[in-house]
Structure formats: structure tokens, C-alpha cells
């Protein structure tokens, strides 16, 4: 179907090329397999927008001019700029001799003659049959251009070869609200998001889905906002509430829940590469979980994103920073430390700084910096020395790949603060009393026969009391700069190697790339200034990138699909007007309130649609970029586990925050190579804490999370993949965590639903899926139950083994065979597709 379309479209294009003898049969056919990424830049669903010939009629005047940023630049970037781009230092670039991304060069050298495609050398070398002149060169590894792409270039040159700035490097402007076509129902829209969505749908000949069934909707919004499903009672209350604001009240309740922060912190912790160990060969434990709690808290109190940024990048440089603001700087202390014997600390200190530069670029700007460590960017206008200007901002911190991860601070929890103050006051009092008595503190040497006086003893005791309490206060890693007179000198590293500083090039001062808005005049030239530059109103990227990430969390795919790359090689937004609208709204109207942004998204009608995929919609829009249906996707590793525990009634939600915990670990884990530290399984209630508190050991990542694509967090992870594998099946079927959840769920059904088997099964479906069971479901569950029950009655030993362990002994009077059979029911429920997905 699509292949046919493409052929037709392409042929239409050919016909219109005056004088171009393109044989139609060359145009169709399968694409070259080596070019699987070709279409990453062109939005799959935006065939109409992106294929220049689309919608073209015999009347050429009706055609939109070629959009350089959207249509031409991706072609140049993918095929040409590796040699004809910003990096003019490489051997290929020297051979190439000129840049195609700079109009003066391309036109000046007459490679492009505006208005005259057929006289332009560029078109000639693209279409020539002579291998020696053919571009891209056959041995370059770069794919040849398709006829359609050449045609786009040809039209663009004929239209005057105008260059415009890459779309993402231009500051977003709030677009006008789109005009809906007459056939669209304006009442469908709940808010402005819907107007953009609806306009795009009609443009592509699609209509929205019906609203989601309220049972599915309530489950969806719970999962999205707090990461947990509603209880049957919460679901029932919602579906039976006829008031028009029932939904918005639920949304507001969830946004105010402390579990909101626990859920939303997780995606940020991936970007912050938060982990409980140092990484590399020894992978020693480190204490930085107070940073994780800071993130949870920041989401819960809706710390505006600009402030969220400043405190994490430069909390220590704020005037009179609070302990919380220092804890926040843990963001960039999550880099790895290599304590293996014989390593060069400077090498890994530099590696950490490089990680900070790259992570900052990826997280806030959506720009890939890693290449620029070694050479000027091949595609985006970021130059080699500019990388080291950014490096210079981060090069002044005191951390130095030391095994103890210094610098760190004592970071008491709020509830510890009072006790500290009390004991400090007692200490002060004791000192005062001593002074009042005219005595000195007791200072006799250890083996001296002298004994302290009563007042001296009080002081000693007060000091001990404070010290012993302070020993329980957690520490956390922080950023701390050297004083001005001890600062490091930053040089460009030739080829990216810290062993090759370019001393002749001189000391590099902190600065930001020239391609972007200027560094604020009044901002200090340190990390604080950098943070202010990132969240500055003129920054074209930060708000777009952040809005896109939030969008991706909810919809499964960003408006810009390449969340981590908004540069030339990134993909064009599926709905640029909507992206810009949200970015400006977030930054200005919502004053960077992330909760308000999330609220706006989940309050849209688009979000509340049913997730049903018709064959037609699947065909036209397989990844739901146009939003003609609600979001449906697999839950994250943490959500899947949290949900199983919640449904079983064993999730521990008693407190927010605290040291990381280890759920059941598999037997037979080998210790890490040089380390004597082996992760210890937690005990008691700590086994049942939410996944966000799971101990994150970099070299031995919690296997059940790894199976569901949770990253090891060695480095920043912008986007988790969502795979679907048999190893996941093993986890949810057989991991002790899930076996215990099934056992406890089975017991719960027996205890809470009376003696009727069907009533128990129905309760199971309510707990798991928050709706009535269908007949098929009831029959399938009943079959598992009755057949297993009869087996277990015959085999009490198997029944006892299935019903107990890891779950504790059965409650008084509960029949083991029933409990075992109901465990199998629980096992089925916890493995259902509807449960593992957001509906």
C-alpha cells in the first residue's frame, strides 16, 4: 500500500520536472537496505508534508515552496555534511574544500546556482553516472540520494536556494491557534492542544477515536501520574461519578499525591544517571540517594523547571545555598569514579567532566556533544574549541576521581534537622555553662589520671551525643568549585585526548557556542551563569526539549521522535506548531510549572481517547504520531513491579525517600571483580518499597529491571527502549517478587471475596484491571483454578510449596490447596497484557 503510494507520488514529481528525463521505473522499487535510517528524518506519518510532490496537481502554482529546514537540511546533513560541513579539519573536509551548509560558500563557488538547478554542479555530481565524480563518493559509506531527494534539491535551487536557520535553533514563537476544517467538531477540543491535534488529523484524513472507556481512562491517568493503578474503590468512585468535573478532580488529586514525585523522578534519574555505586571495575557503593529524594521532592513541590535546572547545575554557587540546594548538585556527581588500582585519576576525572558536558548538552539542549570532544561537529554548528569552553565551566570542581568520592556533605533529612538543632543547642549550653564556671574543656591526655569535672563531663557527653547522631546522618556528593586562585586551566584536547592539551592554543575561558543566543551579560562566567543561559528566555531549545520529554513520557513517543537530538540529524517534529505552542506556554504562561504542563496534556481530549488501533490507523500511523488514538504502551520496569505489589496489597508506601533497598536477589550472584562488597538483600518491609528506591548497582544491575529495559545508568539515558522478550516473561512468571505477589494476591482474593469462586475471580480482575471480568476471562481463570485445585488436593506437598514461600505461612484456617490454586490465578492476572500495558 505504502510502496504504491510512494511510487505514485514520485512519478507525479517526475512528470513535473521540466526537461528531466527520469524513467519512471527507476523511481519505484524497494529502498536500498543500507539506508534503513533514511526515513528517521522524515516523519513516517507525514508523508504528505514531507514528500515534496505530495498533493501536487498539474497546476504548479498550487505547490508549496520547498522548506529548507525541514526538507533540504536533513538531506544535506545525512549525505553531505560529513565532509562539506562545519568540521573543516578532517582529511575528507580538506579534500572537499567547501561547505554546503553555508550559502556563501555553496553559491560563491557556484556549486549551487540559485534559480538554475540544471547548471548547478551539485545536481550534476549527484546525477552523473561517472563514478569518479559521483557524490557522495562510493567509498564514503554515505548512501546515494534517492531520485525524490535529488528532486527536492532541484526544486529548492530553482526556487532560489534560500537558506534558513535549522528549525530548532530558532526561538519558538507561540503560533496562532489553527483553524479547524468545517467538518471538524470544535466541541471535541477540551483545550488548545486538541485544536492542534484535530487540525493535523484532518489534514491527514484521519478522525479521532471515541473517548476511552472510563475504566480504562482512570487506570491510564493513575499510571501516568503516580505510576500505580487505582484501587477498585477509586476506580468505582470515578466511573459512577456523573459530575462533569469528576475527571479533573481525579487529576488534581493525583498531581497532589506524594506518589506523583516517586513516579516522575524515575525518568529524570535516568538522565541524571543516578546509581548507588561508582561504576567501573571495583564498583564500590556510594552514598548519593539524598539526591534521588531531592528529585522526588522537587517534582512533588513542582519546583519550576528553571529553578530545577539552576539548583542541580549550580546550587552550590547560589548565594547562601540551603542544604537542599547543595544536595541538588548531586546531578553531576553521578558520574562514575574509577578506583581500580593503577588507574590515572586525572584520566577519569576528565572523563567525568566530559560526561558532564555531554549530559548537559543532551538533557537541556537536545544536542549531541560527544563528537565535539575530538573534532568540530560534523553536522551541527558546534566547534571544537567551543566544546572546551563548555568544558571550562565544569573543570573547576574539586572532585578528582578519588575513591571516597569527595567532596560530600552531611545531608540530614528534614525530620533529623530538629534533633540536630536540639543536640547542638545542648552542646552550646554545655559550653556556655563551662565558660560561666570559668573552666576550660577537659583536655588531659588519654593515659592521664585526671578526671573531668562535672561541667566538663556535661560538655563531653553533649559532644558525644551530637557526634553519634551525626553519624547516622546520611552523606551525599556535591559539587564544589576551587577558589579563584586555585582554579584549573582549561586547554583544548587535541583529538579529545587529555594527554594532548593544546597549550599553544592558549587557556580556554568558559563560554557558550556562538550558534546560539548570547551568554547573558550580567551572568557570572561559571556554572551558575551557564544554568541561567540554559533557561534564558532566548534559549531556543531548553523548553522545547523539556516539553518533548514530558510528552514522550505520556505518549510513548515525543513530538520530536529523537528526544535526545534536536540537531540537524534529529527528526523533524510531527507537529511543530503544537511543540512550539507547548514550549512557549510552558516557559511563559505556566512559568515552567511541570505539573501544570502535565495537567494540560492529560486534560486534553486527545489524551482521553480510546487506544483502539484500527487497521486503517495502524497502516497510516503505526506509531501514533498524529494522535488519532489514546496512548497505549508497555509499562516501565518499576511500574510493572510496583503495580504487582500494589495489587497484591504488599506495596510499602509508608514513607517517601530513604536509603536504597534491594528486593529479592537471585541466588549465585558473583561478586564484582576486585570488590569485596556484595549487595545484600533487604529484609522485612524494605523488600516491598517502590522501584524508585531499588539499589542501583552499575556493574550488576537488578536483573528484573534490566529485563524490562531499565538502563544501568553508567551514562545519561534519554529514552528507554520498550522491548517485548521471553526473558521478561520469566521475570513476571517466576521471579520471587512476582511469585510472592501472586501468592499474596491469591490469599487476598480468598480473604476478601467470600467463598464463591467466581466472586474471588471477579475481585481479581477488579484489582488487576479495575473493571468487570468478561466471560472469556472468567472462564479462563476458573479453568486454571479448578484444574489446579484438584491437582493440589491430590498433592498436598506441591500445594504447600506453591502457597508458601517467599510469602509467609498461610493465615490461620486457610486451605493450602485453595491458596496454591489461587496463586496460579494471581500469576495469570499479573501477566496479562492489559496489566503490563497502559490501556
Amino acid at each position: 500500500m505504502r510502496t504504491k503510494n510512494r511510487t505514485i507520488v514520485s512519478l507525479a514529481g517526475c512528470v513535473l520536472v521540466a526537461g528531466a528525463l527520469i524513467i519512471p521505473s527507476l523511481v519505484s522499487g524497494p529502498t536500498d537496505p543500507s539506508r534503513t535510517h533514511e526515513s528517521d528524518n522524515s516523519e513516517v506519518v507525514l508523508i504528505k508534508d514531507n514528500t515534496p510532490q505530495a498533493g501536487k496537481t498539474a497546476d504548479q502554482s498550487g505547490q508549496k515552496p520547498v522548506d529548507f529546514a525541514r526538507e533540504v537540511l536533513p538531506i544535506l546533513s545525512n549525505h553531505c555534511l560529513n565532509c562539506h560541513g562545519p568540521d573543516q579539519e578532517s582529511a575528507q573536509a580538506k579534500k572537499a574544500g567547501f561547505r554546503l551548509d553555508v550559502r556563501e560558500e555553496a553559491v560563491g563557488f557556484e556549486f549551487i546556482k540559485p534559480g538554475h538547478a540544471d547548471d548547478s554542479a551539485v545536481i550534476d555530481v549527484l546525477t552523473t553516472t561517472k563514478a569518479s565524480r559521483k557524490m557522495p563518493p562510493m567509498d564514503s559509506g554515505k548512501p546515494q540520494l534517492s531520485k525524490a531527494q535529488i528532486e527536492t534539491l532541484r526544486r529548492w535551487i530553482n526556487e532560489g536556494a534560500e537558506y534558513t536557520q535549522h528549525w530548532a535553533y530558532t526561538k519558538p514563537v507561540k503560533p496562532e491557534l489553527p483553524k479547524l476544517p468545517a467538518e471538524a467538531d470544535p466541541k471535541w477540543a477540551s483545550n488548545d492542544i486538541d485544536l492542534f491535534v484535530l487540525a493535523k488529523l484532518y489534514e491527514n484524513g484521519l478522525k479521532p477515536n471515541a473517548p476511552a472507556d472510563p475504566h480504562r481512562l482512570i487506570r491510564r491517568v493513575y499510571i501516568d501520574l503516580i505510576g500505580l493503578p487505582p484501587t477498585p474503590e477509586q476506580a468505582k468512585a470515578f466511573v459512577s461519578d456523573p459530575s462533569p468535573d469528576a475527571y479533573s478532580r481525579v487529576v488534581d488529586e493525583l498531581l497532589a499525591s506524594p506518589q506523583f514525585g516517586e513516579h516522575w523522578a524515575k525518568q529524570w534519574l535516568d538522565k541524571a544517571r543516578f546509581a548507588d555505586t561508582q561504576g567501573y571495575a571495583e564498583d564500590r557503593p556510594r552514598s548519593i540517594w539524598r539526591y534521588r529524594d531531592w528529585v522526588i521532592d522537587a517534582y512533588n513541590r513542582d519546583l519550576p523547571f528553571d529553578q530545577f535546572t539552576v539548583e542541580q547545575l549550580a546550587g552550590d554557587l547560589l548565594p547562601d545555598p540551603s542544604t537542599d540546594q547543595l544536595i541538588a548538585t548531586g546531578f553531576h556527581r553521578n558520574t562514575m569514579t574509577n578506583t581500580e588500582g593503577g588507574t590515572d585519576d586525572e584520566e577519569f576525572r576528565v572523563a567525568a567532566i566530559i560526561d558532564r558536558v555531554n549530559t548537559t548538552g543532551e538533557v537541556w539542549l537536545g544536542i549531541t556533544m560527544a563528537c565535539v570532544q575530538c573534532h568540530t561537529h560534523k553536522y551541527d554548528p558546534i566547534f571544537h574549541d567551543e566544546y572546551y569552553q563548555l568544558f571550562a565551566f565544569f573543570n573547576q570542581t574539586q572532585d578528582n576521581d578519588n575513591y571516597n568520592d569527595q567532596p560530600f556533605i552531611k545531608a540530614p533529612y528534614p525530620e533529623q534537622q530538629g534533633e540536630i538543632q536540639k543536640r547542638e543547642a545542648q552542646l552550646a549550653q554545655a559550653k556556655q555553662a563551662l565558660a560561666d564556671a570559668g573552666e576550660q574543656p577537659f583536655a588531659a591526655p588519654k593515659d592521664s589520671p585526671d578526671k573531668p569535672t562535672a561541667a566538663q563531663q556535661v560538655l563531653i557527653d553533649a559532644q558525644k551525643a551530637l557526634d553519634s547522631f551525626m553519624n547516622q546522618v546520611p552523606t551525599t556528593l556535591v559539587m564544589k568549585d576551587f577558589p579563584a586562585d586555585k582554579q584549573r586551566e582549561t586547554y583544548l584536547f587535541k583529538g579529545g585526548s587529555f594527554l594532548a592539551p593544546d597549550k599553544d592554543g592558549g587557556i580556554i575561558q568558559p563560554g557558550t557556542p556562538k550558534a546560539f543566543h548570547p551568554f547573558p551579560k550580567d551572568a557570572p562566567r561559571n556554572r551558575l551563569g551557564l544554568a541561567q543561559w540554559l533557561v534564558h528566555a532566548d534559549n531556543p531549545l531548553t523548553a522545547r526539549v523539556q516539553v518533548n520529554r514530558i510528552w514522550e513520557q505520556i505518549w510513548g513517543v515525543g513530538l520530536v521522535q529523537t528526544t535526545e537530538d534536536f540537531g540537524f540529524q534529529g527528526s523533524y517534529p510531527s507537529n511543530k506548531a503544537l511543540l512550539d505552542y507547548l514550549a512557549v506556554t510552558y516557559q511563559q504562561d505556566l512559568a515552567w510549572s511541570t505539573k501544570s504542563l502535565i495537567r494540560m496534556i492529560v486534560m486534553s481530549t486527545a489524551y482521553q481517547q480510546s487506544a483502539v488501533q484500527t487497521a486503517e490507523k495502524l497502516e497510516i500511523d503505526p506509531f501514533n504520531r498524529l494522535l488519532a488514538r489514546g496512548p497505549r504502551m508497555r509499562l516501565s520496569a518499576e511500574q510493572i513491579r510496583d503495580q504487582a505489589l500494589a495489587i497484591a496489597g504488599i506495596l510499602n508506601t509508608d514513607r517517601i525517600g530513604g536509603p536504597s533497598v534491594s528486593p529479592y536477589l537471585p541466588e549465585g550472584q558473583l561478586p564484582q571483580s576486585f570488590s569485596s562488597v556484595r549487595q545484600q538483600e533487604s529484609k522485612g518491609a524494605d523488600l516491598y518499597r517502590r522501584g524508585v528506591y531499588t539499589y542501583w548497582q552499575r556493574t550488576a544491575h537488578y536483573a528484573s529491571f534490566a529485563a524490562f529495559d531499565a538502563p544501568s545508568r553508567d551514562v545519561c539515558t534519554s529514552k528507554r527502549s520498550r522491548t517485548n522478550t521471553p526473558l521478561q516473561v520469566f521475570v513476571t512468571l517466576n521471579d520471587r517478587v512476582y511469585v510472592e505477589a501472586a501468592q499474596m494476591l491469591g490469599r487476598r482474593l480468598i480473604q476478601e471475596a467470600g467463598n464463591d469462586v467466581d466472586a474471588r475471580l471477579k475481585l481479581g480482575v477488579w484489582l488487576a484491571l479495575q473493571r468487570e471480568a468478561s466471560k472469556i476471562e472468567l472462564d479462563a481463570l476458573r479453568q486454571v483454578y479448578t484444574q489446579s485445585l484438584s491437582d493440589y488436593r491430590e498433592n498436598p506437598e506441591a500445594a504447600a510449596a506453591m502457597a508458601v514461600g517467599p510469602a509467609p505461612a498461610l493465615p490461620e484456617g486457610m486451605d493450602a490447596a485453595e491458596a496454591a490454586a489461587m496463586t496460579l490465578v494471581g500469576n495469570v492476572l499479573l501477566n496479562l497484557d492489559e496489566l503490563i500495558n497502559k490501556p
Partner: protein
């Protein structure tokens, strides 16, 4: 037991839906669907469904492969080349003298200035028709010397374990890139219907320095990560059903799950649901296939003795035998790590006189057995066996604590590896080091060249096996790597 086959009509429906999804999936590769090929395995998944389908199933090689499968034996910690393969009489001649500056690498971990030359304490001889030099520590390997392609001129940029292991297996010294096995399964898919395409076996009592990142999938979908097999507990994590559940109970639960999921698929039309149904069936099959293949008790006593394998223990010998079994069952990449080769000489636990002979004794027989066993089964031609550490070791005695133990420090400038089978030149010795065994004298082969050459043997052009991530087409060899045809038969 009940009939495990599935309703043919429903099956047809699934295949169509998955096919359609694959077909559409090619436009946006990063969504995971595209790369399913490596674990999806049921013949129906791999069948080309229409024009362009081959783009999803990247199973197309760039040219005819010499090898179909790889068994990579990594001696974690790095064996000393001077004491095993790279015989340097000059060291014995000048043993105990202060080493000249020229034998130092640019950077080293522990060894100090004025360290003394350490002649090998072991006897060397030339063996086989090829006249290959080998140490007395490798008596069994000598028997298969004519099968080996020994490379003496490997070199790397890293001189610490974790970064060097990562560089060797992922092409980059910092964790986060896909490993060689992940690249290969991404590129070639799986041959096995019931087993993962990339499996990892660890011995030596400790995990490898680089941890799971050495077999991680990096930015490739996690589907391509190596699956670690374990010698204690489940052979693959959670493959065993819980106590109290028999196969019938498991079948019953999977039937119920899939019945309900089929209803879900009809309601929502999500192709992922159909894939999930297949995954539950595959998992059920794996529950039989994995313990079966991992059970070396099924081997004859003669075979067990040939390897020196001891069922039930954690040993490198068992892992060599398992490697053959997995490879035979179609596992594309079997990665072994054996910990304990880091012979610094700080005590008998890591020295040349006690520890090194112990490690050689544990590994010499099983490696020789593996090569001979593959050969007699007609598998050696299509199975590439690679043996290596992550770097070389110094000319000098490290003498870190001056307690009199012999040992060598890390040395990145040259090291020896060998390969066998899978299209490499048997009985050849490639490359040379200088008279000290300190630097490459002839035909330097960087680890990126080794990676490029291994991919070449598997039918893959290392420059064309790419994955776009963060706007860049990444590959195993980064921007380096030269295929070395002199390694090939």
C-alpha cells in the same frame, strides 16, 4: 500433556499482524519492533513478507560469511604473553638487569622506574607442523597448535581492566556502547528457535571487571544484550517455575494468559499484544530447551573427561563444554569470561609461579578439547573461536611490594591472542613484537582491526553495520578498524 499447537487461523492472523507491523516498522527503526528479528525465531517471523522486509530483518550479510557462530574465550585480567606464546630469549639472557626505558609503555599502572627484566620461568618449544612457539604451561593446546592462528601484534589504548575490556568488546572504553555480540545479533539475528542469540558464561569465582556492560546492548534495544547463564540456581535467570508448579500447571497458566491476551488483541488491535502471546509460547519452549542444553550430564563420560568437566561445579571447563553445546544449538555468540589472570605478582594468589600455572591447568585442557571437539563434529569450519585477554603484560617484574613474587604489570602496547576455525588461517603466526616483546615490530593489529576482521568473517562489513543514535550512525569500530585479510584462510 495437552496439545501445545495453536489455532492455525489465529496463528495466521498473528503472522499477518506482525508482518504488517514489521513492514511499517522499517520507517522508524528505533521503536524496537524492527529489531525483533534476533530473538524471534519462529520461522514465520523471519520469512520476508514483502518488498523491503529485508530491511527489518537485518539478517542479510554483506558478503558470504566464513563463520556462522563465535565462541569468544576472554581470559579476564590478561595472561602474560611472554610466558605463554611470545617467546623472547633476550629476557632470559638479561633477566634481573634494570630494564631499558624503551620497553616501557607510555603509561602503566603499577610498575616503577628501574624495574628489572623478567625472563620467563617457563620452557618454550616449537610444536606442530607449523612450528608454533608455545610454553610448557599449555601441553594440551600444543596438540592442536596447527589449528590455531596466533596473533602476536594485537595492541590497545587502554591499560586498566574495565576500560580495556570495554574497548575490546564494545569498541569504546567507557560503558554504554553495544558489545560485539549485540552488534552481531542485531545484524544477523538468531539461528535458534528456542535459545537467545547471545549468551554469556562466567567462571573464576568473580564477575568480570567491566560487569554487564561487557555484554550489554548499549543503545541497541535490550533484546540484543547477552543473556548470562549461571552455574548456580537457574541456568538462565527465572527460567525455572516456582516450587510446587509442574509443567502442566505452567501450561495451564500460559493458556489462560494467552486466551485473555487474544481477547485483548482483538479489542485494541495492538500488534505488540500478538508479539507478547508469541513470547509466552517461546518462553514455555525455552523452559525445556535451556535446562536441556545446559545439562552437561547428557554428555558421555569420555567427553566430560576430554574437557575435564565436572557437572554441577562452576568451572571454565564446564563452560567450554557448554559453549560447544550452545553453539551447536545455534547460539550465535557465546561469550566466556574467566576471571583470575591478572598476574601482578603481589603474592601467590596472582603470581607467575603459582597462579599462572593454576589458571593454565584449568583452561589448557578444556580449550584444546573444545577445538578438537568442534573439529570432530565438523563444526570448527563454521565456528570462530577467539582467545584473548584485554591487554598484554610488561617485560619487567612488577615487584610492587618487594616480597619476591614474580609478576608482570599491565601493558597495552602488544599482546598475543589466538583464533581457530571459522575461516582463519590455521597454523599461522601473524605479526611480531620486538626482541623484548614490548612493542609491535611487524603488522600491528589494533583491537578495532580485530573487531573489523571478526565481523568480516561473519559476513559483515564493519563500516556498514550501523545504528543511528543521537544523530550519528554508530558502529562497533567507531571510525576506525581495518580488516586484516592475512588472518583469513
Amino acid at each position: 500433556m495437552t496439545d501445545h499447537t495453536i489455532n492455525p487461523l489465529l496463528h495466521q492472523e498473528r503472522v499477518l499482524a506482525i508482518t504488517r507491523r514489521h513492514f511499517l516498522g522499517r520507517a522508524t527503526k528505533s521503536f524496537g519492533a524492527a529489531a525483533l528479528a534476533s530473538l524471534l525465531i519462529d520461522g514465520s517471523f523471519a520469512a520476508p513478507a514483502g518488498p523491503g522486509e529485508e530491511q527489518i530483518v537485518k539478517a542479510a550479510t554483506h558478503f558470504a560469511p566464513k563463520a556462522k557462530r563465535i565462541i569468544y574465550l576472554h581470559m579476564a585480567g590478561s595472561p602474560p604473553h611472554h610466558d605463554l606464546f611470545d617467546y623472547k630469549p633476550l629476557l632470559n639472557k638479561r633477566h634481573g638487569e634494570v630494564a631499558p626505558q624503551e620497553v616501557y609503555a607510555n603509561r602503566s599502572a603499577f610498575v616503577k622506574a628501574n624495574a628489572k627484566i623478567l625472563g620467563t620461568p617457563y620452557k618454550f618449544e616449537q610444536v606442530g607442523k607449523s612450528g608454533t612457539w608455545m610454553s610448557e604451561l599449555l601441553p594440551n593446546l600444543k596438540q592442536v597448535a596447527d589449528e590455531l592462528c596466533i596473533v602476536k601484534s594485537l595492541h590497545t589504548d587502554q591499560f586498566n581492566h574495565a576500560p580495556a575490556q570495554l574497548a575490546l568488546h564494545t569498541g569504546h572504553f567507557i560503558a554504554g556502547r553495544p558489545s560485539m555480540g549485540s552488534w552481531l545479533t542485531y545484524g544477523l539475528g538468531s539461528e535458534s528457535a528456542n535459545l537467545p542469540a547471545f549468551m554469556v558464561l562466567v567462571s573464576g569465582g568473580r564477575n568480570v571487571d567491566a560487569g554487564g556492560a561487557a555484554w550489554g546492548s548499549g543503545f541497541l534495544p535490550s533484546l540484543h544484550a547477552g543473556v548470562q547463564c549461571r552455574s548456580e540456581g537457574d541456568p538462565i535467570l527465572y527460567v525455572s517455575d516456582p516450587d510446587g508448579m509442574d509443567r502442566q500447571g505452567r501450561r495451564r497458566t500460559i493458556d489462560a494468559i494467552n486466551t485473555i491476551n487474544e481477547q485483548q488483541a482483538k479489542e485494541f488491535g495492538d500488534p505488540e499484544t500478538l508479539t507478547r502471546i508469541e513470547q509466552y509460547e517461546l518462553a514455555f519452549r525455552m523452559q525445556t530447551a535451556v535446562p536441556e542444553v545446559m545439562n552437561i550430564r547428557n554428555e558421555t563420560q569420555a567427553t566430560l573427561e576430554m574437557y575435564g568437566a565436572n557437572p554441577g561445579a562452576e568451572s571454565f571447563a564446564n563452560n567450554c563444554l557448554l559453549a560447544r553445546r550452545l553453539s551447536e544449538a545455534g547460539v550465535r555468540f557465546v561469550q566466556l569470561f574467566d576471571w583470575g589472570w591478572d598476574v601482578h605478582g603481589t603474592g601467590p594468589h596472582d603470581d607467575l609461579m603459582t597462579k599462572l600455572p593454576e589458571k593454565c591447568k584449568q583452561s589448557d585442557q578444556p580449550i584444546a578439547a573444545l577445538i578438537a571437539d568442534l573439529k570432530r563434529r565438523g563444526l570448527l569450519d563454521e565456528t570462530l573461536v577467539v582467545w584473548s585477554g584485554e591487554f598484554g603484560r610488561t617485560v619487567m617484574n612488577e615487584a610492587r611490594n618487594d616480597k619476591g613474587f614474580l609478576g608482570r604489570d599491565h601493558h597495552p602496547n602488544c599482546f598475543t591472542i589466538f583464533m581457530a576455525g571459522g575461516g582463519v588461517k590455521a597454523g599461522a603466526t601473524i605479526g611480531e613484537t620486538d626482541e623484548w616483546g614490548a612493542h609491535v615490530a611487524d603488522n600491528p593489529i589494533h583491537i578495532h582491526d580485530l573487531q573489523a576482521s571478526i565481523l568480516h568473517l561473519m559476513g559483515i562489513d564493519h563500516k556498514r553495520l550501523t545504528y543511528r543514535f543521537q544523530g550519528r550512525d554508530y558502529r562497533l569500530t567507531d571510525v576506525h578498524g581495518i580488516v586484516k585479510p592475512e588472518l583469513f584462510a
